[in-house]
């Protein structure tokens, strides 16, 4: 059982070409917030990637995902979201 306590987990860094992903919950719905370098031109792509990774990991509970971007490519963003959510869930890593 997931704990219903308020939890927060992070993965990634604010170094160049990386991003810092923070997962907080529980939340009523899934909320995705994007800020930083690529936000102006890649917001939709970033949101799609976050959803794709969370859905792939079977995340059906509401969480708030904050992406502070410093120029991460999709492959890096995906890895950071996976790591952050795995830590949030506290389960085994894929």
């Amino acid at each position: 059982m997931e704990s219903m306590d308020f939890k927060t987990s992070q993965a990634g860094t604010l170094e160049s070409m990386d991003c810092l992903v923070t997962v907080t919950g529980p939340s009523d719905v899934r909320i995705i917030e994007v800020s930083g370098g690529s936000a102006s031109r890649f917001r939709t792509a970033i949101e799609l990637k976050v959803n794709e990774v969370l859905d792939g990991m079977g995340c059906d509970a509401g969480v708030r995902v904050t992406v502070q971007d410093n120029g991460a490519f999709g492959v890096v963003l995906g890895a950071r979201v996976e790591a952050a959510f795995a830590r949030y869930r506290g389960g085994a890593l894929s």
């Binding site: 370098g37 031109r41 939709t44 971007d69 120029g71």
Partner: protein, 523 residues
Amino acid sequence: MELNAVHREIPPRIDGYGDTSGKLFEGAFARHPSGYRSGARMRSFTPNSGSKLSGSIKDAIKASGLKSGMTISFHHHLRNGDYVVNQVIKSCAELGIGDLTIFPTALFEVHKGIIPYIKSGVVSRIMGSVNGAIGRLVSEGGLGSPVVLRSHGGRPRAVISGDVHIDVAFIAAPTADRAGNISGQMGSAACGSIGYAFTDAEYADVVVAITDNLQSYPISPVSISGIFVDLVAVTDFIGDPAGIVSGTTRVTRDPLRLLIAKYASRLIEASPYFMDGISFQTGAGGIPLAVTSFMREAMKRRDIRASFGLGGITGYFVDLMKEGLVQKLMDVQSFDLEAARSIASNPDHIEISADWYANPWNCGAAVNMLDVVILGATEVDVDFNANVNTEADGALLHGIGGHQDTAAGAKLTIIAQPLTRGRIPCVVDRVHTVTTPGDVVDAIVTEFGVTINPKRIDLLDACVDFAASREIPLIPMDELAAKAKSMCGAMEPIRTTDRVVAIVEWRDGTVIDIVRQLEKQVS
């Protein structure tokens, strides 16, 4: 809407700029001047005219006859250390003068000090580069009239041809005398060359020298003669020496920049221009300086000496001249103290005006003698058009500088930059703003290798021959663009309104592109 020669839609009329018909960009060398140069007001100075020393900046503004609605000009040799622009605008506000057009050769971050005066209407129009906070303000519609962006050569052309008339030129003078002779080579705000101020001094109705180092008459050497100068104002400090120095003279250790610089220097070495007497301009950035250091090795190895280095000059270039690898320096802007010291002491280090440097409408600007130039860009497109004016989010971020002029003048124009900045691709299908047309860009160099403009088959052949012994990775433009796209993904479009906030003029005064106001960000 009409399309210009780089396929940009230009409105027939732009509020605050005027009609564009007959002013559409037609090609890099399409337009030629006719008629006569415009002139400045004639004036005399007799033994009874009294003193040019006018006291404070405010006193000088009063004496100059400056009125609301006029155009005033500044040079940017004090770069981010400049105190003069902010002081003059503040004084104008205090004197109740407003609705001014300012016509700087460039503005820097330090000049965000004028933002309150833009908002209060003291400054209503800017003709010159805007960046940082002012660029953001303009991009979001904070200025009544559109900004007009001109290159370092296009600006003196605009003055000399009469496109722009300067009512009062305020010239920051690191050293001056009571007759208004000016030098940039001495004083606590010494900046070396003051080449950008020459045309303003010659063509403005009233010229005010502002100095913090008044010396006895006559000073020597003299850069701008007192025959052009009406008034001399004295203030405590015209600039902060720490902000005057820009660029770096230390070659970067950043491996990515070094890699790009290595490819660029191999391209130069492979080109037909790498021979005794080569000339080049490399500026002060990390990659260009590293290119210069690789070229230094190559010149030594192949026993070649350069005839001259052009443009903004750094201490690194001064060292090349001392080593005998470069014979002369033609300096429109000295980037550091070593360059400033050299121009003051070495007759082979020549101070040149922006007119001499880059004006397309005189009898021979120095850029036309140039073999190789290394430039950067925020983005380049598949037609080799380069954008140096707007950032990825569409905001105005940089002036044109000498980009257009050197690209048009040099035999080999190289744009050297990483393929991506963070996730933002630097090679795209269509640049947001065309600063320099692809016609005058010969090669793009990235960390993936050298991409040659297909127009330059000769260059391609030279690289292929050269590649046999010292490799140059060649990557065609379509492949490079595809690579950028696959790495970064598709970008969302920049959302703009219809309102034009900036006009980008080609160096001949035609409109090569316009910049539209950004839509308010919804967050």
